[in-house]
């Protein structure tokens, strides 16, 4: 039996006949698909334009690539420490972790309070918009600039680094916390209100307990990010720690093998933190 016949056989009503000359469009253009394609096209065009206009300043692209490949090989296969000792490096890693930890703790404490006012179901619309706008502004200034701006007032060092980095943590965590607060069922808040509970009671007895696993996961993820940021600030803003040693190896000693050793330190900690974050998320059954 031919397919067509088979279909005719079970069709009880007569079919709408499509004249074969008219082509059938199987994917109608919607606004969504137009915007999607437009975005793709713009990205590709801008990329092409960049490659066309980039001013590489007499750097040979191919030689650079080959050089990098060689450097990466040396870095990973022959790492060594010559300008400082293993225990010094370990101590510097602890400093970087310390900077990340302080930043995360301060950021989390401040963000908890601000995000209560940023969550629309706990606060007024106006206050929420103001706080979220403030957070968006903080995020728009790169962390390194916050650190350098504070460095003018407090001097280069851990104080400027921690305060500057805390700004970004606050804004990141406000967004994360307030969104998880907003997911809380309206009915729960209403039920407690009906029983005469005060705002702070509702916050501490219902809102925070029901979002605590999300908050812990987000906070730890921020700690993971802050470690990387602290490495970068050590290099670019004199915050100290392992990042500064990497900067010295790169810009003063020109020692690619020492960079390799430092990179191993950073990699081990970073991957450890990533695994830990995944474990915490799994343990708390949080999917973010």
């Amino acid at each position: 039996m031919e397919a067509d016949e088979k279909i005719e056989k079970i069709s009880s009503q007569t079919l709408i006949s499509n004249s074969p000359s008219k082509r059938i469009r199987i994917r109608p253009l919607t606004k969504a698909s137009l915007v999607l394609r437009g975005t793709l096209v713009v990205l590709v065009l801008l990329t092409a334009y960049t490659f066309y206009t980039i001013d590489v300043k007499d750097v040979n692209f191919v030689q650079g690539m080959i050089g990098t490949a060689k450097n990466v090989k040396v870095m990973f296969l022959e790492p060594h420490l010559s300008h400082f000792s293993f225990s010094h490096a370990l101590y510097q890693v602890m400093i970087t972790l310390g900077l990340a930890f302080l930043t995360t703790v301060f950021g989390a404490i401040i963000a908890v309070f601000l995000s209560l006012f940023a969550a629309q179901n706990l606060s007024s619309k106006r206050v929420s918009v103001v706080i979220k706008g403030f957070a968006a502004f903080i995020r728009a200034v790169p962390t390194v600039l916050w650190v350098l701006i504070f460095a003018v007032a407090a001097g280069l060092g851990s104080v400027a680094a921690v305060i500057g980095m805390t700004f970004h943590s606050i804004s990141y965590l406000i967004k994360a916390y307030s969104e998880s607060f907003e997911e809380l069922d309206k009915g729960v808040i209403e039920a407690l209100q009906a029983s005469g509970a005060s705002w702070w009671q509702i916050v501490f007895q219902a809102v925070i307990p029901s979002s605590i696993s999300y908050m812990i996961s987000w906070t730890f993820m921020r700690f993971e990010i802050n470690f990387a940021v602290a490495v970068a600030m050590g290099a670019a803003a004199g915050a100290g720690g392992i990042g500064f040693d990497m900067f010295m190896a790169s810009s003063f000693y020109y020692d690619i093998r020492e960079i390799g050793a430092v990179t191993y330190f950073i990699l081990v900690i970073a991957i450890l933190l990533e695994v830990l974050a995944t474990q915490i998320k799994k343990r708390l059954k949080v999917n973010i």
Binding site: V35, K57, T68, V159, F247, S250
Partner: protein
Amino acid sequence: MIWVKSMQADIFKKKKLNTAVFILLVCFVTFIAATITEFSIAKGIASVPKAIQWSFSNFYPTKESLTKLPDILDKMKETLLISIAATTVAALLAMIFAIFGSTATRVNAFFGGICRGIATVFRNIDTAAWAMILLFSFGQSPLTGYFALFFGSFGFLTRAFVETIDEVSSSSVEALKATGASYFTIIFQSVIPSCIPQIISWVLFMVETNIRSATLVGLLAGSGIGFAFDLYYKSLNYHTASLVVIVIVVSILFIELISNYVRRVIL
């Protein structure tokens, strides 16, 4: 009844004890961290009003600094373009690695593990670290910034894409396999169409992140807007430096506006 009561009391006690232990532990670690980093909380708190005061008296653009605006805009354009180009090319490579790395679409488990492993290494070396590594071969050129952003984005996007593919497309992959479609047909007809909105969303997020990182990389690699800021900052020309910050903020907010719009429409 008495038994129930005492058990309830126990639960409350235990919860309170846990919270107390947790808070004490955080305080203890904070204390240790503050000691080894030589951070003083008092100094930290004092620095905030000091910084605000300083900003209001020094950190604003003047008429004179506005003459530098065309230069600054030019550097900003360079940084924006490099961030976008690095992200786009990284996304392409990340897509390939993600397809081979996802459980839904991988060719085999061993090869999939290798793909994800490579991405893990790239992701966990920060962009700034990449910049310092690349300085050796490319020197102070935009290419250093380009590749630093490229490597970092590649690692991050691979992980994001793997999660997207796992989440979105494993069921339709099964359906197309059952119709007898070939591997690449399945990828192009099912995986890519179902993931593309999320993928674009991740790419836009990465562009935003990269513009911020580009400032940092520019400081280290001597190019783009980061270099401009460094120049004025180090020569104590704070008025012009503040103009650089304003240009960066406006650019980032503008890009965020566009990508939020795109996200709202396509997701």
